[in-house]
């Protein structure tokens, strides 16, 4: 217990898993890497959410799924289950504005409850779970092909999820993936990151009414998805990655065409973004809006661009040998502008890595040698997706998934929105929300 508290106060919670009778905390510390700390629990366990808000939703999810009671949890309410009563905490004397779960645009369902004083938001509570499909339970007992199919539909980032699952399986089986497949995986991962980030940026420009920039950035995004389709046969890169390798192998011609196309698209969107993020009215709309301080970001355990925009220099690609040398894009301030700058700068960075990967693409096979899977094995992996860290842990029995645990980055970042909107104007909420651009489905699983 003391070791756990020490680890949590120095590090960041990656995942929480329960297999009766053991609770397993996956905690990342700067000098020690990822550790697994265990705690025995049968019906109750001590809640740490009061001191470590990053644990809040994890403990609630555990309580909901296993009936395990977190003792001393500050606000124990359902997370994904809509059958149980859900008490909002209204603030006496303030007007409440309910928004959602059905929104006017074509976006995912989620409910936001605002307590406002005039146009100022004093408090906001997010309620999700409308897209809970029981993905982890559905994966149990499935073959790997079916599990991959589910993983690719878990959240907004198909490639990152497929890659994380494939790597977890490879870690369990001790499979070595050939170098060409390794690099090709990074190529699709970076393509996904770029079109995801461009989607966030186009959304930000739409929300402030800057139609020109939104259309131009959106155009490049669509063309990039076309390139992803040319490479993998799918506009979102689905069915591209499998345990042991990749399902696509570009010939020399495709590789050259892709290189040229990406070069042009990178220059085009770079020029648009540079101009747009200097527009004085854009700066006026984004600067000082929706701030998350570094201390808050650490406390909530934020990941990905949201954390890096608040000054936390952490990116899982720092440890990936294929990316060396790598320095994460970091901004301070944590406002909408900082997040937009991180997206924009990471787009540039990813284009540079794509150029390198395609220029130095090794030749050779794209699949590992077939071997009979061991009767039982378990492994985990983490991948830096566009929105942050995707975590997969699997226990395999032969080629079947006996148990799977996955954490989408959005699950860790949703609470940041509640903090970021405090004191902001109600009309600025959509912009702040878009600056995180979190996946509802990935959170609900």
């Amino acid at each position: 217990m003391d070791a756990l508290i020490e680890a949590l106060s120095q590090g960041r919670l990656v995942a929480l898993d329960y297999q009766a009778p053991t609770l397993r905390y996956f905690v990342e510390r700067a000098e020690k890497g990822l550790e697994v700390l265990e705690l025995e629990a049968t019906t109750t366990f001590p809640s740490l959410a009061r001191d470590f808000p990053a644990l809040d939703w994890f403990e609630r999810a555990l309580w909901e799924a296993h009936g395990l009671h977190p003792e001393g949890h500050p606000a124990l309410k359902p997370l994904r289950d809509h059958q149980k009563p859900y008490p909002f905490d209204p603030i006496e004397g303030l007007h409440e504005v309910p928004v959602g779960p059905v929104h006017a645009g074509i976006i995912e369902p989620g409910h936001f409850r605002f307590s406002v004083l005039g146009e100022q938001i004093l408090h906001m509570e997010v309620r999700l779970g409308y897209q809970h499909r029981g993905l982890e339970a559905q994966m149990q007992g499935q073959g790997l092909a079916q599990a991959l199919l589910l993983a690719e539909r878990a959240g907004g980032e198909s490639v990152a999820h497929a890659l994380a699952l494939a790597q977890a399986v490879e870690a369990a089986w001790g499979v070595a993936v050939p170098p060409r497949a390794q690099v090709l995986r990074r190529v699709v991962l970076e393509l996904e990151r770029i079109f995801g980030h461009l989607g966030h940026l186009a959304g930000l420009f739409t929300d402030i009414g800057y139609a020109y920039a939104a259309t131009q950035v959106g155009k490049v995004r669509a063309l990039l998805q076309g390139q992803l389709e040319r490479l993998t046969g799918h506009r979102y890169g689905r069915n591209a990655i499998g345990p042991g390798g990749v399902y696509f192998d570009p010939d020399r011609g495709t590789q050259d065409e892709l290189q040229d196309a990406l070069h042009d698209l990178g220059r085009e969107v770079g020029a648009h973004l540079q101009a747009a993020l200097k527009h004085p009215m854009v700066l006026d709309r984004m600067r000082y809006v929706g701030p998350v301080s570094e201390a808050q970001a650490r406390l909530l355990g934020l990941v990905g661009p949201a954390a890096r925009a608040s000054g936390i220099a952490r990116d899982l690609r720092q440890e990936d040998p294929l990316y060396q040398p790598f320095s994460p894009v970091v901004r301070s301030g944590g406002d909408v502008l900082a997040r937009a700058q991180v997206y924009s700068e990471e787009v540039r960075q990813s284009f540079a890595y794509l150029e390198r990967f395609l220029a130095e693409l090794p030749s050779g096979p794209v699949w590992a040698k077939e071997a009979a899977p061991p009767p039982a094995a378990e492994g985990y992996s983490r991948v830096e997706a566009g929105r942050g860290e995707v975590f997969y842990w699997v226990r395999l029995e032969g080629a079947r998934v006996a148990r799977a645990r996955l954490v989408d980055p959005s699950f860790k970042n949703w609470r940041a929105l509640e903090i970021a909107v405090r004191g902001m104007g109600l009309p600025d909420f959509p912009l702040i929300n878009k600056s995180f651009d979190l996946s509802y489905a990935g959170c609900d699983l």
Binding site: V99, A104, T206, D207, G209, Y210, A211, T215, M281, L431
Partner: protein
């Protein structure tokens, strides 16, 4: 006569504006005549009324259109009604339509209706002084209290009229719920001003509202045209300039933060005040 003409061309103005914006953004865009078809489509659709609402909900779109139509009657671009002080009647006929629109939005009982109502009321309060002071200054400078008697822009009244035109142009974007005051294309309810009031209106009721909004913009452009020195060419020219300016603003401009609106609208009021002072103190350039 002017009112009938405006009623006919309002959908052309709003529809072609959508086309222009699309072209400026490198998109193909809708047919410039799209808004006629949209009105036809809406007119033939069924409509629903929120259960807690009163008949005001149904009458508000009628009043909004009627207010804008009656206001257009007083614009002497083509022969029409005219009497001393008619510009006051015009301004408040437009506000009568808005009054009902605000009531109807409150009537729905939805959070967004109420939010749209108070925001629209604020914008109206901010835009009103600029409009009235500008028209008043122009009337004073022309020694005539009717719109028909307004003298066109000349070297004599250049300063006063320029200030009045600034005030009216700012009032146009605020009253017409256009950028940078309001984004007519947004789907985000929390940022809406004008559109938030129309969320519960459907079918023919929505068609009336859309027509009224287009008509209202034309009335403001008509007011600007009255101050122009080109006679019969004034209105077509102002229409074209307004069309281009709005298309440009809504493509390359960024919507203002809602809490910054008073800053923008204070320029409208200030220009109106300076215009009146200009007449009273006989400024000349």
């Amino acid at each position: 006569m002017t009112a009938l003409l405006f009623l006919l061309i309002a959908p052309l103005f709003t529809g072609s504006l959508k086309w222009l914006k699309a072209r400026l953004q490198n998109r193909l865009g809708p047919d410039p005549l799209y808004d006629y078809r949209n009105l036809y489509k809406l007119w033939h659709k069924a409509w629903i009324r929120p259960s807690p609402s009163s008949p005001i909900f149904v009458w508000a779109p009628v009043m909004a259109l009627l207010g804008a139509f009656l206001a257009a009657l007083f614009l002497p671009l083509l022969p029409g009604f005219s009497f001393a002080g008619d510009f006051l009647v015009l301004a408040y006929l437009l506000n009568l339509g808005r009054f009902f629109q605000v009531l109807a939005a409150l009537d729905t009982g939805s959070a967004f209706g109420g939010q749209g109502s108070y925001r629209e009321s604020l914008v109206a309060v901010l835009a009103e002084p600029g409009t009235l002071l500008a028209l008043g200054a122009a009337a004073l400078a022309s020694s005539q209290l009717s719109l028909a008697g307004l003298a066109p822009l000349s070297a004599e009244n250049l300063l006063v009229y320029t200030l009045a035109l600034v005030a009216l142009a700012l009032a146009l974007v605020a009253e017409g719920a256009r950028m940078p005051v309001d984004d007519p294309t947004t789907h985000l309810e929390l940022t809406m001003i004008h559109e938030a009031q129309l969320l519960d209106h459907s079918g023919p009721l929505l068609a009336l509202y859309e027509l009224a909004a287009g008509l209202k913009m034309l009335v403001y452009l008509g007011l600007i045209a009255l101050l122009m020195p080109l006679g019969a060419w004034s209105f077509p020219l102002v229409l074209l300039l307004g069309w281009l300016a709005l298309g440009y603003l809504e493509t390359y401009g960024v919507k203002l933060r809602y809490l910054r609106l008073p800053d923008l609208m204070s320029y409208s009021t200030l220009s109106g005040v300076l215009a009146v002072l200009g007449v009273v103190l006989r400024f000349r350039i």
